[in-house]
Structures are given as structure tokens and as C-alpha cells.
Symmetry: C2
Subunit: 250 residues, 2 copies
């Protein structure tokens, strides 16, 4: 499995060929990086994983951490040129007005290949599932709650679930699939105020539906006269629970 270290001189050819053939490329390299665009950043020399995709995506990963230390999004133009004793990879994205320069001092190993994949991820457990569930189980938001609309762009805007209470008033429900914090309360308040203004009534109640809420958020919520309802996002942890016992051995 050990590949011989690549001759640095061969890399430009390899890169250009990969680009031409629309291959993906992955290489362990020794490099330094400069980014300029939405911010300015420099990164000194070190060993990294360099990834180039056929769509113009560029990723630079350090040996640890799940996020790339540098990246350029799809649509970037990639060039390589010789500079003294090393190579310079220039990546430019006109739409993003950003540029990345990779000074390449060593290429330890490199693979390049055409990849074929038309699959899309099928995902469940998002916020939309929660608002669906609430619409179908309205009593979970209190007796008398009658939902009118769910996640639609009505005249009141982006409201997760909107409805009547049993008493002539309106109800705005904001769903969070994770612990609700201060920003969720801000958001709910803004929606409630917008509905109040549009409907011309102060009889608008806010409900925050989430599996949990932080103490400060709850305090703020209650100070506005709003209500917290504990609701878990549907379908979560199916396989996790199935695997639970097997984890002890790790």
C-alpha cells in the first residue's frame, strides 16, 4: 500500500490532467496557504490533505478537525505554475470575489480519479417534520388550538405554524428541533409582533415548541407572556438506540 513519494515536478501535469478529465484529486502535501476574499488569512507550512473536485471545489484539511482549514467553493478556476523551488496553485472565484494561493513544497502521495455518483441523501427529522406533526396534533399546543397554515409564505411571513386559539385570538408557533435559545425567542417575538401589526390586534399568543429550552430563553419567553411546549423532533435516534449496547465496547 505504500506509494513512493511523488516527484514534485510531476504534480502540475497530474493536476492539469485531472482537471481536464474532470477527475477528483486527493493528495497529502506540504504547503502554505493564503486566502483573500471575505476575510484575509494566512497559514504557515505544514502537512495537509489537499482535495480538488471537478466542479472547481478546493479543500485543504489539516491532520485533525472535521472542517477544512481553507476552502474554495465550486466554480473556482485553478491554475498551477512553477515558482523557484516550489509550485504555486492559484484558485480564483470571480462570483465570490475570493482567491486562494497554495504554495506547494512537497507532494507525498496523490490519487486522482473520475467519480460517478448521482445519489441524493434522504433525510428525516428536520424542523419541517416537527411543524407537520404539530399541525396534525394541534392539541399538543393547548386545547382549542386550530392551525390554519404551516410553513407557508403568507401575509405574515415565515411562520412555522399559524392558527387560532379557541377564543378569537391568533397563535404563532415557532419550532426548534434542538434546544431553543435566546435567538429563538427573538424570532418568535418578531413574528408575534408582525402578526399583531398585520391583523391589527394585540390578541396574538406566541408558543415556542422545542425539545428543550435554555434557562435564559425560558425567562425571556415568559416575560413576554409566551409559552414553551416540549416537543421532540420525530424519528430521531432510530439506529442510534439500536446500536446503543454495542457501543460499550469502544
Amino acid at each position: 500500500m505504500a506509494h513512493p513519494h511523488m516527484d514534485l515536478r510531476d504534480f502540475p501535469e497530474t493536476l492539469l490532467r485531472a482537471r481536464e478529465k474532470r477527475y477528483a484529486l486527493a493528495a497529502f502535501v506540504h504547503c502554505s496557504v493564503v486566502y483573500s476574499g471575505r476575510a484575509e488569512a494566512t497559514l504557515g507550512r505544514g502537512d495537509r490533505l489537499l482535495i480538488l473536485k471537478s466542479d472547481g471545489t478546493v479543500l485543504i484539511h489539516q491532520p485533525e478537525s472535521s472542517v477544512p482549514i481553507n476552502y474554495m467553493k465550486a466554480g473556482s478556476a485553478i491554475t498551477v505554475e512553477e515558482v523557484e523551488d516550489h509550485f504555486l496553485i492559484r484558485v480564483a472565484n470571480v462570483a465570490e470575489k475570493s482567491a486562494l494561493e497554495i504554495e506547494l513544497f512537497r507532494v507525498y502521495e496523490c490519487i486522482a480519479r473520475e467519480l460517478s455518483d448521482g445519489q441524493k441523501q434522504d433525510l428525516s427529522g428536520h424542523e419541517r417534520d416537527m411543524s407537520d406533526w404539530i399541525r396534525d396534533n394541534p392539541t399538543s399546543m393547548g386545547d382549542g388550538f386550530r392551525p390554519i397554515a404551516r410553513e407557508e409564505h403568507t401575509d405574515v411571513g415565515f411562520i412555522d405554524v399559524f392558527g387560532h386559539d379557541g377564543d378569537g385570538g391568533f397563535v404563532v408557533v415557532e419550532c426548534k428541533r434542538v434546544t431553543a435559545s435566546l435567538t429563538a425567542v427573538d424570532q418568535l417575538r418578531r413574528y408575534v409582533e408582525r402578526v399583531s401589526a398585520i391583523k391589527g390586534t394585540k390578541n396574538v399568543h406566541g408558543i415556542l415548541a422545542a425539545p428543550a429550552i435554555t434557562p435564559n430563553a425560558l425567562e425571556m419567553l415568559l416575560s413576554y407572556g409566551f409559552t414553551y411546549r416540549k416537543v421532540d423532533a420525530p424519528k430521531r435516534h432510530l439506529r442510534w438506540n439500536a446500536q446503543q449496547k454495542g457501543l460499550a465496547e469502544y
Copy 2:
């Protein structure tokens, strides 16, 4: 540069060895994926780039797009076992209560290597740079503004720049490095209200400092009696501008 296709049977050994030696591993593979944790997700068979890092990070990249289609964060446990005609990589993260299963049908190419990198990125142009600049250029927020604290956890909380106006009142400045939207106004309002409550005065003015602001956000801001000040994040586009003319050729 063409590596022979790897025999699938050799992969478990390669993976275990890489884990043991704390190597990073990158491979072009044909696989399907199931994720379970904060949500539930499945991804059918396709060609992808699989990355394993020594810290337990796992990334699965499709041929396009800059974000991984699946990932597990550092600290994950990784095992591999034979299942009929293919292999199953199990990734489990106890802290995150999440699990990933990769059904591996083919390994086209694979590289594994120890990576050494102690560098940290030096980045400028973030929000902190803006609040620094405002503190050092207080008149940009209006005559009479005298900053007291910047981005410190005082009794008033997380406020970017906090100070006096020239007239016995308080000023709260919220900075955004990009176009300010409704959420930024929410945030500023929350801070202003908190300061009002703590200081026991209604004489608290809110200023939103950003390179731009959306129309709705500006309307909402003004309705609260707050002020917008146009401020660009410092140091931006240095190299971008330098490269501008060279981009025409891409």
C-alpha cells in the same frame, strides 16, 4: 500516477493499520451510507472520497460540492467488519449520540500517511476586528460617543461595543461583518433592553454597524429608534484587488 485498483479484502488491514499508526487516510470508494443521530439519513450507492483522520474524524465527499455529504466529528470510534460480499465501516460517537454506517463495495484507490502540522491560521477581517476599529475610531458612531468596553463579558453581557453618548445616556453597538438582517436587529434590541433593565434607564441608544443592511432590517431598526452606521470590516480584499486584473484570463 495510476495506482492499481486495490483489492477490497486488503482494505480492513489498511484501515486498521492507519488507525493504529495515527495516519490520515483518503480513498476513492464505492459505498452507501446510513446516518443516525441528530437526524436520520440514508445515501444510496455511489463513488465518493472517504477520509479518515487520526482524531476520529470521518468525511464522505461526493464528486461535487464543497461540503461533505456525511461526516462524523473528532472522537468517533471506527471499526470495520466483513459482511457477505462487502465491508461495513461503523463509526460511532458517544458524546454526539450519533452513528454512521458505511457499506463499502469497492476501493478504487487509497493513500494513508502520517501528517505533521502545528500551524494555526492567522485570520483578519472578522467581527472582532470591526469592534476594535470602532473602539479606536469612536467618532464613526457619532459625535460624543465614548466607548467603555469592547466584546467583554460585563454585567450587560455579550455586547460588541458599549459606551456613553455625550449626554448621560448609554450606547450599545452591534457589529456585523456582512449585510445586517432582521436577526441582527433582534439581537441589538435584546441587548438594548438588557442594558436598560440593568442600568435602570430608558436612555439607551442602539447602533447597528455593518457594511450594509437589508431594507426590512433598516425599517425595523428605525422603528425602534436605533441607528445604522455603515462600517466595512477592516483589511478586506487586499490580495483580491491585487489579483483582479489577472482574473480576466480564467
